[in-house]
Symmetry: C3
Subunit: 239 residues, 3 copies
């Protein structure tokens, strides 16, 4: 199964072209639009979101991951095998949180360049063909060179910031919930939020934190929009 | 064919995870994202929208239907066979308008709970595997218990309210158009809207009502945004 | 492969119904949601966008193309074969830029009308079945009549206007970049924008023009929103 993760937009011209490019190389493979609204140009928030979202899947998969404001510059493009899942994308830090948290990682630089390579859309022209070959089981040795580490590695510890706002207005942080005791409060500037197990257990009309479905600490409001109420935006610090 | 109907958002992290979960249990089945922007948390409006949208299909299908603000609480989860179409979702009223209007209904409670069940995302963890089994023709008797009626049943008569705003700014009501004479006007507070057969027949620059493509009375404006012009929102009453 | 191009909205009830209709006639065929946010009701901008987007594909495809504010009126519906790609849609100008730029064009009017034809949703009821038949290789001669030209033909030369704003805030024009020398500036009212090869080469913090991934001149801002900065909207003239 192929998973697409990007900031290409779910309502734009990019994700469909990537899908068509993959199918033109690997007809009929399963492609899931996992997320195309990763925070625009924001490699750090996206790297933490990717690391929460993809490794949890209990299936073999190839993830095309692109948040790539430096497309067309000198940054490398890489293929990564981390804990038996494949990732293809730019070497700009996006894959580095997944890499640092994996127990086993193999890496290759993409040395191949297609005949028609646009300067601004490597997802379609460079990454999609590589993803298609891996998904088909035709690993493209001739298009790759071994490498031992990523060029850009971000801090892979928990990130005490808002990293994603969903359409309900729930705000995900880069903090993994596993280590957080339920008696603790989550601080946002002067505001302290209590824990609740799930929306309908939340304090009536008040925002709270809970462990979301991908293991992160998330700020929510029962049948309401926590992000609007608390004026949250990506990058806001939490404690 | 599997139809997905939810308030998960079309540009968010949820619908892709549901799709991946279904394919992990039933590789390659056809999955249609029918609607992921059902009104957030709004069970009543969504129930009427679902009842207009899904039964019209002339095909066998399994509909995963989730608008579920009470996820993780004590509400039941159900499988329903209504007029030869399958529905899987929460027993919170969402399926009740379809049920009440069907000529033949069978019901089961989902008694199975997966090993990994998040508190907040039953669409992925609980409903998707059941949907996949039904679509594959492997009806999961062992995961279900017979039941005779839904726990929560909404009024299944026409709903004289705005239930959905589309991206053009057309506003659907919960009124079925079949019974409405074309000479009648649709009243929105002090405003009375005339009938027109289709957009290009509308009174120039003025909003009107017409029978939309799923059989509902809808307020529209030729090449314009009726919802913005009339400041319409979901739940507004009509007469 | 089937490509869907429309103003049906990517987060609405229409594109999923089209997909279900196609699969009900041609189970399992590959369908790509190429774009459902063509500018609402805007045939001219959409015609230029379609002509930049679809002919570039290096694959056989059938494109269902619908921007159709006159649906349900007397406008014709057509099938077009242009340079070995199929197009199905209304004869309202939308396909005319593709037609004028193709080296070889064949045309048919759709004379068939399905038993259940809604007045407002020909994409689902009329175009989807035709698209499905063509994709399956069952060309529907009996549902078509030969014709020699489109009823509505727009100017197919470069269009010196903004035709699309993407979610990053990049603004596409209807000018093909091939003929534009890089020393030239792009004028937007009193503003003159320099050329840059790609985002990361742009003048820091200043908007610029570049050749985008579908061959058009596009206005962009490195890691920023050019449309918001310059208050751009579809239809704005450029020089």
């Amino acid at each position: 199964m192929i998973l697409l993760f990007s900031d290409y937009g779910a309502v734009d011209i990019y994700s469909g072209q990537v899908r068509a490019a993959i199918w033109s190389h690997a007809p009929g493979v399963e492609i899931v639009d996992l997320l195309h609204t990763a925070p625009n140009f924001d490699i750090k928030a996206s790297a933490h979101l990717l690391a929460a979202l993809v490794p949890q899947f209990q299936i073999a998969c190839v993830c095309l991951a692109v948040v790539d404001p430096g497309v067309g510059s000198q940054r490398d493009a890489v293929v990564m095998l981390a804990d038996e899942k494949w990732y293809v994308g730019p070497d700009n830090g996006l894959l580095s949180v997944v890499a640092a948290r994996a127990s086993k990682v193999e890496l290759w630089r993409i040395t191949w360049r297609p005949e028609n390579l646009s300067r601004s859309f490597h997802g379609r022209d460079l990454f999609a063909p590589i993803v298609a070959l891996i998904e088909k089981g035709a690993f493209p040795h001739g298009k790759l060179a071994d490498t031992v580490r990523l060029q850009v590695a971000l801090d892979a510890g928990d990130l005490a910031e808002i990293i994603y706002l969903d359409h309900y207005g729930n705000a995900m942080t880069g903090l993994r919930a596993g280590a957080m005791e339920h008696g603790y409060k989550l601080h946002l500037g002067p505001v302290a939020l209590p824990y609740a197990p799930v929306f309908s257990d939340g304090p009536g009309g008040q925002p709270f934190w809970y462990e979301n479905s991908i293991g992160l600490i998330e700020i929510a409001l029962d049948r309401g929009n926590a992000a609007a109420l608390l004026k949250l935006k990506i990058g806001d610090p939490v404690r």
